[in-house]
């Protein structure tokens, strides 16, 4: 038992564990809307876009959270606007805007080669560097996101289900979209240190997809995705210490394992389900009627 609890004796692990737990729950919560809107790629794209903002704010000497946050928010708004105004598919808009933003970061790095090590951590996650201050910021963003989702639950549900019609029922779609873009950018920024730019997308997508395969209820999907996100992150962190593997990678691998498990469970359910009468009917052709 003592051996199992060994990692918790280290302060860096405790901080990393709490950060991962919060980030997992946060990404799971936002991920439900991302997946149901068919924008799964946005997490991947936006985290890359924010990388450009993080590098730029480092060079300009700005606060990381403010600089990268503003950059990410503007990128998310640009994606939304480009998709709506110019009738470009969301995937194409995400591809263009976020890779251009990522390229800015890479260009700055290649110009000022001295800080490449710090940005390795941004790309792949570095849980050793999590401070109490980081945890407080992650907690603040989680509480803020929770509050937004709590008070705008019905509006967000309507927009996610039937965006165009929601506006005709008086839902302020543009305003809520902008707020959601801000929440998403904030969540990605605070997740960067734990998961890294390259692995955030998985934390946003895997928990809601796993839960979606197990339930047909939106509220159950919401709760399930938060729990699975937190569980995945906590288990991934713990295993990353025990197996000496990068935390972000381990969290994603645990998520992928749960996904395979959910697939198998669904398959078992499908096989066990009694076949509907309509599935057993043989279609009648015109030829049958003529004979």
């Amino acid at each position: 038992m003592d051996q199992l609890l060994t990692p918790f004796q280290f302060e860096f692990f405790r901080y990393g564990f709490i950060a991962a737990l919060l980030v997992g729950a946060l990404c799971g919560m936002i991920g439900v809307y991302i997946v149901l809107r068919g924008m799964s790629y946005i997490g991947h794209g936006l985290s890359h876009a924010i990388f450009g903002g993080a590098v730029a704010s480092y060079v300009l000497g700005w606060n990381f959270y403010l600089g990268a946050g503003l950059w990410g928010f503007v990128a998310a708004l640009l994606i939304n606007q480009t998709t709506r105004r110019y009738r470009i598919g969301a995937d194409a808009a995400i591809g263009i805007i976020t890779t251009a933003s990522f390229a800015i970061g890479v260009a700055i790095i290649s110009r000022y080669r001295r800080f490449t090590t710090n940005f390795d951590a941004a790309l792949f996650g570095n849980v050793l560097g999590v401070t109490l201050n980081d945890i407080l910021i992650i907690a603040a963003v989680t509480v803020f996101t929770l509050a937004i989702i709590f008070f705008l639950y019905k509006q967000l549900l309507f927009i996610t289900f039937d965006r165009e019609v929601a506006s005709s029922y008086g839902v302020r779609v543009e305003w809520i979209d902008a707020l959601f873009a801000f929440v998403l950018a904030s969540a990605i920024i605070v997740s960067m240190q734990t998961l890294g730019v390259t692995l955030i997308a998985a934390a946003l997508v895997i928990p809601p997809i796993v839960t979606r395969m197990l339930t047909d209820s939106f509220s159950h999907m919401m709760v399930g995705s938060v729990l699975i996100g937190a569980l995945t992150a906590a288990l991934g962190m713990y295993l990353s210490f025990q197996l000496d593997v990068a935390s972000g990678a381990m969290i994603v691998l645990v998520g992928a394992f749960l996904f395979v498990l959910a697939l198998a469970l669904r398959e078992v359910r499908r096989i066990r389900r009694p076949r509907l009468e309509s599935e057993l009917l043989v279609p009648i052709t015109a030829r049958d009627l003529l004979e």
Binding site: Y169, G170, V171, D216, L290
Partner: protein, 302 residues
């Protein structure tokens, strides 16, 4: 006559440089049940979106109950979208969809109050989907799905119900049920504007039709508007109109052939059509399936 509930004055709108609708003048009075007809791309859905405040006209004005919309939705109008646009795998129940209609009246909390649930339950009962409330929307028949979205719209307590092709993609029986239900709601005081491609259903169930093709071609009761000339101007094709027992039927006019000229044997390689051109007699089972009423109507095809 009462003041119009909806009024479009010289409305022009386009998504690019070419206008989709041009110089539209249209009135809809309280209590009217009107159908908007025209070919695909004629601007029917654009007109609905202008009335819903989802689009702003490039020229002209849209008034709802005397107020210039200026691209803002009116609380007095509720919208039922095309069923084909719905994501049927989205994790929502019938009750959750219906409750969306009450979104402006609901409080800040994420769950529905007892009053909200009661109002939704009453509406679902009224539309005959009360027992389905906990079902996932995918598990409904076409008619039940249409009723679910109608219930959502009616829960918003609108004066005008706007429906985009409510009869598209459903079988004939469901189509008739939906149109009967709309007529019933109309008799209950709701003004209705719907688009449809089904001219025969419109002739049978909709008391006022508006034919359009980028601009309004004609409007009035179907027996005045459904003439070969107006339909040709609307659809740019030849159509024939039959009358029988005060009913109106619209059909396509064959140009220089019939389907039998094109394909005498409907099953290639299988000569089911006799050399004299007649079809074989139907099996006794099939004969039984054909209702005597249907047989009486066969004069139309002969």
């Amino acid at each position: 006559m009462a003041e119009p509930l909806v009024e479009l004055q010289g409305v022009t709108f386009g998504y690019g440089r070419v206008p989709v609708v041009e110089n539209i003048d249209l009135h809809l009075h309280p209590g009217q049940f009107a159908g908007l007809l025209g070919p695909s791309g004629s601007g029917k859905t654009t007109i609905l979106k202008l009335i819903l405040g989802m689009l702003s006209p490039q020229r002209g004005t849209v008034f709802v109950d005397g107020n210039d919309l200026q691209g803002r939705p009116s609380r007095r109008v509720a919208y039922v979208p095309q069923l084909e646009t719905i994501d049927w795998n989205f994790p929502v129940t019938v009750e959750q969809v219906v409750l969306m209609g009450r979104i402006k009246q609901m409080g800040l909390l994420p769950w529905a109050s007892r009053a909200d649930k009661h109002a939704a339950a009453e509406m679902m009962e009224r539309l005959g989907i009360g027992e389905m409330r906990k079902r996932h929307i995918r598990d409904l028949s076409g008619g039940q799905q249409q009723r679910t979205f109608l219930a959502r719209a009616l829960l918003a307590n609108p004066d005008l119900l706007v429906l985009d092709e409510p009869t598209a993609g459903v079988d004939m029986g469901t189509q008739e049920n939906v149109l009967r239900l709309l007529a019933e709601l109309n008799r209950g005081g709701v003004t209705i504007l719907m688009t449809t491609h089904d001219l025969n259903a419109a002739a049978a169930h909709i008391p006022w039709v508006i034919c359009m093709n980028r601009s309004v071609v004609a409007s009035g009761p179907p027996d005045q508007v459904f003439t070969p000339k107006i339909l040709a101007a609307t659809y740019k094709g030849n159509m024939v109109v039959f009358r029988h027992n005060d009913m109106l039927f619209v059909g396509q006019q064959p140009h220089d052939h019939t389907y039998r000229d094109l394909m005498p044997n409907p099953v290639p390689g299988d000569e089911i059509v006799k050399p004299d051109g007649t079809l074989p007699a139907l099996s006794p089972e099939t004969e039984k399936l054909i209702h005597s009423d249907v047989k009486e109507q066969q004069w139309i095809s002969s």
